[in-house]
């Protein structure tokens, strides 16, 4: 279980005004991380379906795990809301 301890990542939602610190388990999916981040910013930015998550220029596969996506503690990820 220790290997699956939550890690903090910096999340930025396009359209939002600040960076957030979200905790995610390495076994969680990228889709879960995207949902967590979208909800964290939902006071200011309405969550949308089909949002995509990026690490730098690289789009992350929503079905991949956080570990498989290569995310490490205090990485930056960016959520780009889908069109609704």
């Amino acid at each position: 279980m220790r290997d699956d301890a939550p890690i903090p990542v910096y999340g930025f939602v396009r359209g939002d005004t600040l960076g957030l610190l979200v905790l995610v388990r390495p076994s969680d999916s990228i889709a879960t991380l995207a949902t967590t981040l979208g909800e964290a910013a939902s006071v200011r930015v309405a969550p949308t379906r089909g949002a995509r998550l990026f690490a730098g220029e690289r789009e992350l596969d929503p079905r991949a795990s956080v570990a498989a996506a290569g995310l490490t503690p205090l990485d930056r990820v960016d959520l780009v809301p889908g069109a609704e």
Binding site: Y10, R14, L18, L21, R44, P73, R76
Partner: protein, 496 residues
Amino acid sequence: MLLKRHEWLDLARKLDWQYSYVAERDVFPEAMSGRPWLEHAEWSDWDEPYRTSYSEYVATQHEKEAAVHAVRDAVGRVADFERHDRAWLSALKLHAATLPLAEFAAVVGNLRAARFGRDGAWRTMATLGALDELRHTQIPLTVLHDLVAWDPQFDWTHRLFHTNEWVAVAARHFADELLLASNPVEFAVATHFVFETGFTNLQFVALSAVAHAVGDRMFEKMVQSIQTDEARHAQIGGPVVKKVCEHDRPYAQYLVDKWFWRSWHFFAVVTGFAMDYLTPLAHRKNSFREFMQEWVLEQFERTLRDHGLERPWYWEEFERSLGYYHHQVYASAYSYRATVWFDLPLPSPEERAWLAEKYPESWPDFAPIWERVSDRWRASGPGVEWYTHGVTPVGFCSLCQLVLSAGTPRENSACVRDHGGRRYIFCSAPCAWIFEHEPERYAGHRTIVDRILAGEAPANLIALVRDYFGLNEATWGKDSSRGRYPWLTPAVGSAK
């Protein structure tokens, strides 16, 4: 026969002598006096235009003190403050907390220059500057902390710098380096030339005009009185910059580039909030950006040119941020208002229209955010603060210690860097650049996030606010109207 003033003045205010028992370098070591280290002969033409004697200083200051106290007696009572708009009271609380103890730190910076400044005239002016800054500590504490019995948020007039609240952490990071840790050369360039000449001296003129328009005669008088001191001791900056430019122009340029950005972020939060959000709409004349362009940029660019210095390398980014940065931080602070010590108003439709007119290229990015917040107020009804309040911890810049709110809502400019086996995040390229130039100075500092991850500060927001920031339900920030805005009702909204 009495000497005439001009016959004794320089003996009193510009006194230097040859050292016969010690070397000049031992009297003024570079570590304490700053660089470039030059023989005193190089500094002997140092002078400033005010050429004030101590007795003249005391006489003038006595008159200014009497005037401030007279205004306070006349219009500085609780009943006078009760008449003000609640948003304006928040502007007062913001200035009340950030001003006096930073000014007290400036006493130390001036006193270091009063001992280690390289010319007698510089040391004399720094001595008067220290007395000025002591006064700038005492006036806001006297006038505004006294209101604590009426409104407990005014307790933060004295309390802010003694807490680990996030604005306090950022303010200390800025003020400690600027005012407590800098040698007299860096202090003169950073504080007198950049911060005072470039920003606050003109800001105080504008702020007193705003206070006048609002009808706050007490704050108007306080700021005016402080500004006249600042205008005098800020004159230390120019001749020091001139000398540094003569001997080490790249160093002068570096100090200007570093401190303009650091000052800008701090200034944008305090003054940007006050001008564009906390001044009642009916009394706003210029936007914060217009003020910056007309009062700060033009004169500061001219001053740089006069010294043969360039605009800071990030000037384009800076000019773009005039339309974004304080809006980003304000929206962030509003949605985390329990983490600060003053209330924040939700911009009304009329205020948003004004902001859209003043910021046509950037406001379209912010309008949806305020519509979203308004919709949540409509859904919750008044009084339910937490439905329009974030709960997730936010990130802070490893350099300026402010929230990661630089860039634009479409493209936040935060960047991650690794140094010495540790990961850092910076809100902007200039903050990363400052860190990378002097990592030994900054690498050991920990942001609020670092403290949370180390287990020193709680991650739970309520616990963080209560136990680590030192706020409580009586003092933490709320919506200025507790969500009771006539224009928020569905009937008014649908009528529009």
